[in-house]
Amino acid sequence: MIKKRYTFLIIVCLSFSTGHVFMPRSHALELSGYAAVEGRLFTDDPLYPEQERHVISLAIEPELYHKWEGGPSFIFTPFIRADSADPERSHVDIRELNYVWISDTWELKVGISKVFWGVTEFVHLVDIINQTDFVENIDGEDKLGQPMVHVSIPRNWGVLDFFMLPYFRERTFPGEKGRNRTQLIVDTDRSVFESSDEENHIDFALRYNHTLGDWDFGIYHFNGTGREPSFTLGFDPGGLVLVPKYWLIEQTGLDVQAVKGNLLLKLESLYRSGQGDSFYALVGGLEYSFYNVVSRGVDIGLIVEWAYDDRDEDVSVVFNNDLMTGVRLALNDVSGTEVLAGFIIDLDNSDRVLTIESSRRLRDNIKIVVDAYVVLQSSEDSLIHAIRNDNNIRIELVRYF
């Protein structure tokens, strides 16, 4: 058990020591990254007494990068957030810490890294390698660093990717003081695993992707501990809590995108067994773009996507039968101004959610991000009912260095 626990550590250490063999002709370490201050302004009083009204927080993500001439490259990207309200949101993570070796016929990455799979905009269904850093943002786009050995084999007939994932990362959840939480808080200290190895179970994934004319597609199989937990009720001294349970699953996923002129056609689909009854889920849609509108350089994209999940409503599924429409606006100006507005309609109940993401540069190295998340309507039996009072505007100032 102890042996397994340190498997990953040994791999990282080995990678460091062998990396030094390539030391000659090295350049200086490159330091970059960002520091950000974030304010979240909630328009309604909190639903639960422990929650704070407004939240301010600081985050920093430096990146150290080094490439040896003709040899490997090394990257280290820690992430630190300090949150005024929620100790669970104040957290530290290693987003990346890895070595990459490239040869003519294969690429090897060892260490902590991030991998994204998928094509759609509102739901990232098939993306599975990295765990969601849910306390960061409820859109699920922030991810925790995942330890891995990743071999990629690019060929004329496509790219084969093989992943060995020696350590499991648990999803983060807001604490009792945090907004955007369920009525019963998730007690991440009591997580339950189907595997007796718990988070040391070794997961595997194999993916093939290729481009054929206007079509890009990828297909994968994942074997290991699923990233999405189920919940059971638990008893804490303070009362009832939700206990996450992580299952051993088999999951096959597919992502396809076609480019037809101004139109992008997108589909993601998965089939999972091992977590309750086997089920499938899909999200698909299209994005149509108008470019250089009235010769002002403005691009407008219209997005329509539909997400479906085969599971029963009682499972923690947000996108079970939802229609998502969106407008993407890119001004293509010096400030790089961009806006993405989305309207999400649950076709099974009365849930209606409005999302806005926007950003622009204020200076060469300063960017402002303004997001909004508004639950316009929610039905009592739905998951988002718990966050109906958490409508907020998030303003973030990011300083790059």
Binding site: V119, P154, V259, G261, L264, V334, G336, N365
Partner: protein, 273 residues
């Protein structure tokens, strides 16, 4: 035709057309050449001279200047691979502004049909296939449009020689270029000043869809690399309708560095740094 394109992404010449070029360039009274034939012959000769570079890398510094003289800087690196029988492959990575650092474009041009383009977003580690219909839009807020910086194929324009004229002490052809893909181009025509000795473009005037003069590009500082290929150090694009301008400087050109197809796939896009 964008001079930028011809500078950056010189195209494969049609070897089959070589006899036509040679014939068409012979000053002769035995047969006459229409302005269109002369225009296409000049384009193909430029193409022929630009062929055979195999691959090239360079650093780019783009300075955007608004009407009030306020400046904004973009830094990029690019790699281009010549593809025999089709359009070139190119990879462009941003180093500045810092919020887009590591953002990269991978482009496969094709002689006929749509080009292929992928965008890499480093924050999400996401590779996105994008539409190549966005030809006339601004590239990163600059006065260069996407079609000005994408690879160029002889087949994508029709041509007409207008007249000869001296420009900066050089004897030049003036040739007009008309986009074949009229629906998506932002131009009705481009007028180019090409010197007769080395077939390099020195000035281009761009006419918008209403055929009014939109932009002028001037090209300076030509240097010869590996004894054969001319590349400019500086391109200046002035927009006459907005008063804005963009200066694009190139440095550290390296030819025949041994790049191959594997440096231009979706995997390489993710590790450009």
């Amino acid at each position: 035709m964008s001079r930028f394109s011809i500078l950056l992404f010189p195209i494969m010449s049609g070897i089959l057309f070589l006899p036509v070029i040679i014939l068409s360039l012979i000053p002769s009274t035995a047969f006459t050449q229409t302005p269109e034939e002369k225009g296409v012959a000049i384009a193909m000769e430029m193409d022929r001279r630009a062929t055979g570079f195999r691959d090239v890398t360079a650093h780019m510094l783009m300075t955007l200047r608004d009407r009030h003289g306020r400046e904004s800087i973009r830094k990029m690196r690019m790699k281009v691979l010549e593809v025999v029988g089709d359009g070139d492959k190119s990879l462009m990575v941003f180093d500045n502004p810092k919020d887009v650092k590591g953002t990269a474009f991978l482009n496969f041009t094709h002689k006929t049909g749509n080009d292929d383009q992928w965008l890499y977003l480093p924050a999400l580690k996401r590779v996105k296939r994008i539409s190549t219909r966005n030809k006339s839009g601004s590239f990163m807020g600059s006065e260069f449009a996407y079609e000005d910086i994408s690879s160029l194929e002889v087949e994508k324009y029709t041509y007409k020689w207008v007249r000869d004229e001296e420009y900066n002490g050089m004897d030049c052809f003036i040739v007009e270029y008309y986009p074949v893909d009229r629906k998506y181009s932002g131009y009705t025509r481009q007028v180019s000043w090409i010197d007769k000795t080395e077939y390099r473009s020195h000035k281009v005037e761009y006419y918008d869809r209403k055929n009014s003069h939109l932009k002028t590009l001037t090209i300076k500082g030509y240097k010869k690399y590996i004894d054969r290929f001319w590349r400019a150090d500086e391109l200046n694009m002035v927009n006459h309708q907005t008063g804005k301008s963009t200066r694009l400087e190139f440095n550290d050109y390296k030819f025949q560095t041994g790049l191959n197809d594997r440096d231009f796939n979706k995997n390489s896009l993710k590790r450009v740094k």
